[in-house]
Amino acid sequence: MTSVRESLGEYPFLDELPELWLDRLADLGHRVSYPAGLRLFSEGGHAEHFWLISGGAVGLDLHVPGRGDVLIDTVHPGSVLGWSWLFPPYRWHFGAVAASTVHAVQFSGVQVMSLCRDDPAGGMELMRRFMGVVVDRLQATRIRLLDLYGYQP
């Protein structure tokens, strides 16, 4: 089994991040696996972690009265799950469930934030990457708003 440090080199999210930062993140990351159907977190819960997904997929959902838990997005391998730990009130806006067996590296948001404060330049680079994730998801959501597959009379 590859080490956390080795596995971090496989994530596009961390491409070309300085070796020193990869070493620091590796010290904070833990390998985790979740069976299909396991709930990673629920809407409104305290947001403490984020995950780099290496295998499987995670469904983001929202409980809609009368409709149950409705899937609204899927996070795929190579992607980042979770950014609510970055901003007050540090609560999950959606829930997350393993859609298939998930393999990931889990990080504590508090520990990574502390790392960023200690090294603002590196922290800035990491935050820029998180912003990229947020922008990608925003763009994908905007495209879905177009309802491209619907018929426009």
Partner: protein, 267 residues
């Protein structure tokens, strides 16, 4: 330009507004359509529309899949087995077969899966000709996914099938999101990858960009474009897209040709 009479045979309602039916010739059969080509289907007394060929059951019996969105397609959707239609064609340029040994990435959105179905069926029947073959399918909702019953057969034939929807319904456990989220990691050897895209033009733009970001050359990305096809023989000009008359020069074209055209407003 004179339609041949064809009779609707077996029809399958794929979704609430989409049907697949087989057409059998009553007159001399039209030339065999190639994957990606289209016919003009005439609902007598209503009108004529361009519809891609979505399959072939024999040398003379072919299938069309259409979605009821206007007066003519609604009439065709409602047509029962035994109904006689007028058919002209086949028209246009279809999919260029990928080079032997190449990997193939097929991206379809909504009804755009219909013209790609013959390509997938060909890949299943000739699996040894290609490397990795992946089909990525996007739809509005799980109920709008086409040919769902055929996915297991495609997968059993060595095709990797991935689907995603814009809006999940109750009980849906599959992917949710745009098709481009399923494209990372699909390109192993960019120079040996052929891509075929069909669906809403915006979807094709984003999908083509995602594939080119992974190194696939624009000329190796084929797209099927849709404009207002009328005559089918490049005479009336209704389907003009810049220098192209899509009923004749398309509907399938390389993205190296299409890219500068589809980004021009009002073209």
């Amino acid at each position: 330009m004179i339609p041949s009479r064809y009779q609707i045979g077996r029809r399958v309602e794929e979704t609430a507004d989409t049907v697949t039916f087989a057409l059998t010739p009553l007159d001399r059969p039209l030339p065999e359509a190639q994957p990606g080509q289209f016919h003009m289907l005439y609902a007598f007394g209503v009108g004529e529309v361009p519809i891609s060929v979505s399959g072939r059951l024999s040398r003379t019996v072919h299938q069309h899949t259409l979605r009821a969105v206007g007066a003519v397609t609604k009439a065709l959707f409602d047509a029962t087995a035994g109904t006689i239609l007028g058919v002209r064609g086949p028209f246009g340029r279809g999919w260029a077969p990928p080079a032997q040994g190449s990997d193939v990435v097929i991206v379809a959105g909504g009804i755009g899966l219909a013209p790609l179905r013959p390509v997938i069926q060909h890949a299943v029947a000739n699996r040894g000709l290609y490397g990795r073959v992946t089909v990525v399918i996007g739809a509005r909702s799980p109920a709008d996914l086409l040919y769902v019953r055929e996915y297991p057969r495609w997968e059993a034939g060595g095709i990797e099938v991935r689907s995603t929807v814009d809006a999940a319904g109750p009980g849906w456990q599959g992917n949710v999101g745009v098709v481009t989220t399923l494209l990372p990691g699909l390109v192993d050897e960019p120079a040996a990858t052929a891509a075929m895209l069909c669906g809403p033009e915006v979807m094709m733009r984003f999908a083509a960009r995602a594939l080119m970001d992974q190194g696939v050359p624009p000329g190796a990305v084929q797209v099927s474009l849709e404009r207002n096809m009328r005559c089918g023989i490049g005479e009336c000009g209704h389907c003009q897209l810049g220098p192209l008359l899509l009923c004749r020069d398309g509907p399938v074209t390389g993205y190296d040709v299409a890219q500068p055209l589809v980004s021009v407003k009002e073209l």
